[in-house]
């Protein structure tokens, strides 16, 4: 794709600004009606999906050039995709999220990059992770585990911990618990340790498509060599990257399962029984990449066609990623199955969830914006009366924990798998 491929989206944008809000039917209060973190920070219309479509058009037509302000408006966005859901409430011919990504690719290609991102990209290219850690420490989280090493052995399932669960000591127990649960369930699973590379999804969001391609190339080749048919990951970002981006950009056919989906399956099949009560009121935060962006990839190579004279359809029909079929219920069902847990919902949930603020390079490039976005979510979470905000993505959890440390609502921040570990009585082991 090229920016020019989104000209029609831009020309057909009506500047309705639905992309600023959650779907209106779901608005329950004045306070939590807003859906777009970007415009809350940037204020001007250019900080919305619709605004970026106009920016793209304006640049393509030579009406304007890339200034610092333009760069700020293009990159200060978490790529959370809320705008995409709201736009598609009424439109079948718009792809605002894809267009915004393409605009980033375009800017990066033309050399309009953010210096703040250079260190993480350098880390990705040399150490194969986004946390600026040495590559050879990547497998340390699993040192004490007895698990197949897929650089030496074969297995049908690879457990991909992802950069943050691998290197973030506060969170890596989730990776260990996950492996333990998979093994208990009798899954033929292995890990790649140091040979596991970053999925590349975050670099893609930052505008560096080529880095995604390098990651995909390495990971897919490594999985193939190890006989892998399924990848299981507890990270929503990796999940989305493998499921949607590897499929779309690299033709991957590997089955992708998020750890909460796997646990949900086990619980529903009666293969996993929670024996310990976890008395706690929690609220669940839908990670953008598992929720509204977690829909299945549908291959499509088609063209626009006109029906009824001028209406737009596609030949063959174009898949519609509207957020309707994201992974929303499995994490909730797992939580509800844990004795003692009371699940309360935030106003903005499922396809309307407010972003944690970590995505799209925002955590790295715009820490203040990222923190403010997390604070907003913590305020909403606290309003439910829950004592913990639970999620299924280490990036969300890290951003929320940092927000709490920085003075946001003093809530516990937990992963669904941590609670599963408690309910199974194995949390301490991890």
């Amino acid at each position: 794709m090229a920016l020019e491929d989104f000209r029609a989206d831009a020309m057909r944008c009506t500047r309705c600004t639905y992309c600023r809000w959650i779907p209106f039917d779901l608005v329950k209060s004045e306070r939590f009606a807003k859906g777009c973190p970007s415009i809350e920070a940037g204020q001007f219309h250019a900080y919305t999906a619709g605004g970026r479509l106009v920016t793209a058009l304006s640049l393509m037509d030579g009406r304007s050039t890339v200034t610092e302000k333009v760069k700020d408006s293009v990159f200060k966005c978490t790529l959370c995709g809320q705008c995409d859901v709201s736009c598609k409430m009424c439109r079948y011919d718009m792809e605002p999220l894809a267009a915004m990504r393409e605009l980033r690719f375009h800017l990066v290609e033309k050399g309009h990059t953010l210096p703040q991102l250079e260190p993480v990209l350098e880390s990705l290219r040399t150490e194969f992770n986004m946390l600026q850690k040495p590559a050879d420490e990547r497998g340390d989280w699993a040192k004490k585990l007895k698990v197949k090493d897929l650089t030496k052995e074969k297995a049908e399932v690879v457990f991909h911990a992802g950069c943050r669960y691998s290197f973030d000591g506060d969170l890596s127990h989730v990776a260990r618990l996950s492996v333990r649960i998979l093994q208990e369930a009798g899954v033929d699973v292995g890990i790649l340790g140091e040979a596991e590379h970053c999925c590349g999804g975050r670099a893609y969001g930052m505008g560096y498509k080529i880095d995604l391609m390098h990651s995909a190339d390495h990971n897919l080749r490594t999985w193939k060599a190890a006989g892998v048919k399924t990848v299981v990951t507890p990270c929503a970002e990796c999940f989305h990257t493998f499921k949607r981006l590897y499929a779309a950009e690299a033709g991957s056919a590997v089955e992708v399962v998020h750890m909460v989906q796997f646990v949900d399956r086990l619980v529903k099949e009666g293969k996993l029984r929670f024996t310990k009560a976890v008395p706690m009121t929690v609220t669940y935060h839908d990670p953008c990449h598992l929720g509204r962006q977690g829909e299945d990839h549908v291959p499509w190579d088609g063209v626009e066609k006109k029906i009824f004279g001028q209406a737009v359809a596609y030949d063959p029909p174009r898949p519609r990623y509207s957020g309707a079929f994201g992974v929303y219920e499995p994490p909730r069902d797992v939580l509800k199955a844990i004795p003692g847990i009371r699940l309360v919902e935030m106003e903005r949930n499922r396809e309307a969830a407010w972003c944690c603020g970590a995505g799209g390079g925002s955590r790295e490039a715009y820490p203040d914006f990222s923190r403010a976005t997390a604070n907003e979510r913590m305020e909403e979470a606290a309003g439910t009366g829950a004592e913990a905000i639970v999620s299924a993505c280490p990036w969300c959890e890290r951003n929320f924990s940092d927000a709490v440390e920085g003075g946001a609502e003093p809530m516990k921040v937990l992963d669904v798998i941590s609670l599963v570990g408690r309910a199974l009585g194995i949390e301490q082991e991890a």
């Binding site: 029609a8 020309m11 608005v27 029906i307 309707a324």
Partner: protein, 568 residues
């Protein structure tokens, strides 16, 4: 374009802070780019004139201070709230204009439950206020353009009618106190507010310039900036929080026991007028709207049944449109409308239901079965209570232009429907507009509180990404004007839309032919008094003294009131 001193920009920065003003070309373009622009701009451009700067004030004081700077440096002022219309942008290329983006003034200031009044700033949208007032058993009228719109804008500066106007009144009716920064930078408070008595009444004690600030059509930002207003609230017997179910896009709102949601079919527009009168005379109904025909009577059933399916695509609409069973529903729903009854008790709703059944029987109308089934009725309930799907106006291809919509009694409206349908059918034959049938006429059941007065708007869909399609839409607008003239029908919305691209002189030439010239002359005097430097734009209609009585004189000064043609 005349050069504006950088001192003006710096002065504005000093008032609002540098982060709240911009003159970056790309950022300005996101304001210049407007719906309908391509229908009126040279070369079918999607851009209205680029503002000289965009400013985001946080308070009335900031609006007034920036306006004073604009007066000092000769920069026009133009506010937008949610920013959806070509006339929300600057109108002329050669007039440096500061665009006020009002989204930072976004507070609900007060909900006075007892007196059923809410006070809001310009950036508050209908969905937000509705969600809050419903918690108190109250509701607001949401305008036909939907809940993404600013209440202040619809009440102070534009139409203000919507599906619930029938019961709750239109926002122009419901406008109480207002706070207004004139183009001269003066802050005016109207009605009871001006006497320090609060926001409860638009008519004093104190001045009641409601006719000046909004008139029948509103000033559309042409006479300064409205910063706050109060609107009347109405009763709401539904749940305090709307809890829709299902998946997007067609969420479904469960129908409370004390509500009924129907789509009623009629055999003809004559019958539609008759049933309207009967319903109105019997004073039943909470929402009265002709919604789903916006997709065109030929395709409405296929479209909305597809919309109900979260996996549905436009290709499915095409398939469905060929299904004879769907064809039957289309025929049934061809001349239909939606009605929602709200009861205060079981007895009340049952009575309303019986009355409606009797009216339906007497007028030879019927309930459209498929649209009254639970899934569709719940979707209808969601759509019309919240009005959160109005972007569906653009569902076919992103371009829609509403023609016709002349308001009047049902007998008057039924009188122009045939001309509107024939004209649209004729123009669709080009293949350059969406071919959805000649009747794509949508309209709220009332543009006046209590009903009895409504309008139908023809939904003309065109592809903004296809110049030929854009030209076909412009031609349709011109055709509609001619159709009106030929048939002695007042001009409709297409005329208002096209005017945005005209010169002042052309508009004045037309205005000079209209009856009641004294109104336009009176409005000139108002503009002279409130906008001495001509900072507001021509959305506030007026006419130079003597215009049309002698040869129109075209000069650059013509845009300023006080410099009459005669004087020059």
């Amino acid at each position: 374009m005349k050069e504006i001193s950088r001192d003006a920009y710096r002065a504005i920065e000093d008032i609002v802070g540098p982060e709240h003003v911009t003159d970056d070309p790309a950022l300005l373009d996101s304001y210049a780019f407007q719906w309908l622009a391509e229908l009126v701009r040279p070369n079918l451009s999607h851009y209205m004139p680029r503002p000289w700067a965009v400013v985001m004030p946080k308070s009335t004081e900031e609006v007034a201070a920036v306006t004073k700077v604009c007066n000092k440096y000769g920069v026009k002022v133009k506010p937008i709230s949610t920013g959806w219309y070509h006339w929300a942008a600057p109108l002329k290329d050669d007039e440096p204009t500061v665009q006020f983006d009002m989204r930072r003034m976004n507070r609900i200031l007060e909900i006075d439950e007892k007196n059923m009044v809410a006070v809001v700033e310009t950036g508050v949208i209908c969905a937000q206020l509705q969600a809050e007032v419903m918690k108190r058993g109250l509701n607001i009228n949401i305008i036909g353009a939907g809940c993404s719109t600013s209440i202040v804008a619809s009440a102070s500066a534009y139409f203000g009618g919507g599906p619930s106007s029938y019961f709750l009144g239109s926002n122009s009716d419901n406008l109480l106190g207002q706070e207004w920064v004139t183009p001269a930078g003066d802050v005016i408070r109207t009605g009871s507010l001006s006497s320090g008595c609060g926001w409860f009444c638009g008519e004093g004690p104190g001045p009641s310039p409601r006719a000046i600030t909004r008139g029948s059509l509103g000033t559309r930002g042409g006479l300064g900036v409205f910063t706050k207003c109060a609107v009347k609230l109405g009763p709401w017997e539904g749940p305090p929080v709307l809890e829709p179910k299902g998946k997007p896009p067609a969420y479904r709102l469960p129908i409370p026991e004390s509500f009924r949601v129907y789509t009623v079919g009629t055999p003809s527009f004559e019958a539609l007028a008759n049933i309207y009168y009967e319903i109105y005379d019997n004073a039943i109904g909470y929402i009265f709207h002709r919604q789903f025909n916006l997709a065109g009577a030929d395709l409405a059933a296929a479209l909305w049944l597809t919309y109900l399916d979260p996996k549905g695509t436009m290709n499915d609409v095409e398939t469905r449109s060929k299904d004879p069973e769907v064809g039957k529903i289309s025929d049934e729903a061809r001349v239909s409308f939606q009605i929602i009854l709200q009861g205060r008790s079981t007895a009340d709703i049952e009575l309303q239901d019986r009355i409606l059944d009797e009216i339906i029987r007497r007028t030879g109308c019927f309930k459209v079965e498929r649209f009254c089934e639970q899934d569709f009725a719940e979707f209808t309930n969601m759509y019309l209570q919240r009005m959160g799907h109005k972007h569906c106006n653009f569902i076919w291809v992103g371009g829609y232009m509403g023609s016709w919509m002349q308001p009047g009694t049902p007998d008057f409206v039924k009188g122009y429907v045939k001309t509107a349908i024939d004209g649209f059918e004729r123009d669709q034959k080009s293949g350059l507009l969406v071919e959805c049938g000649g009747d794509a006429m949508m309209g709220c059941g009332s543009t006046l509180g209590g009903g009895g007065f409504f309008a139908l708007e023809q939904f003309v869909s065109y592809d903004p990404n296809d110049d030929d399609s854009v030209r076909a839409c412009i031609k349709h607008m011109e055709d509609a004007i001619e159709d009106c003239k030929k048939n002695g029908i007042p001009l409709g919305k297409e005329y208002l839309y096209l005017q945005i691209g005209w010169t002042d002189e052309r508009i004045w030439n037309d205005l000079a032919k209209m009856p009641q010239q004294f109104v336009l002359n009176f409005q000139r005097k108002i503009k002279e008094a409130l906008d001495p430097n001509g900072l507001g734009d021509r959305n506030y209609p007026w006419i130079p003294e003597g215009w049309g009585k002698e040869k129109p004189i075209v000069t650059a000064e013509a845009g300023k009131p006080g410099k009459s043609a005669a004087a020059r």
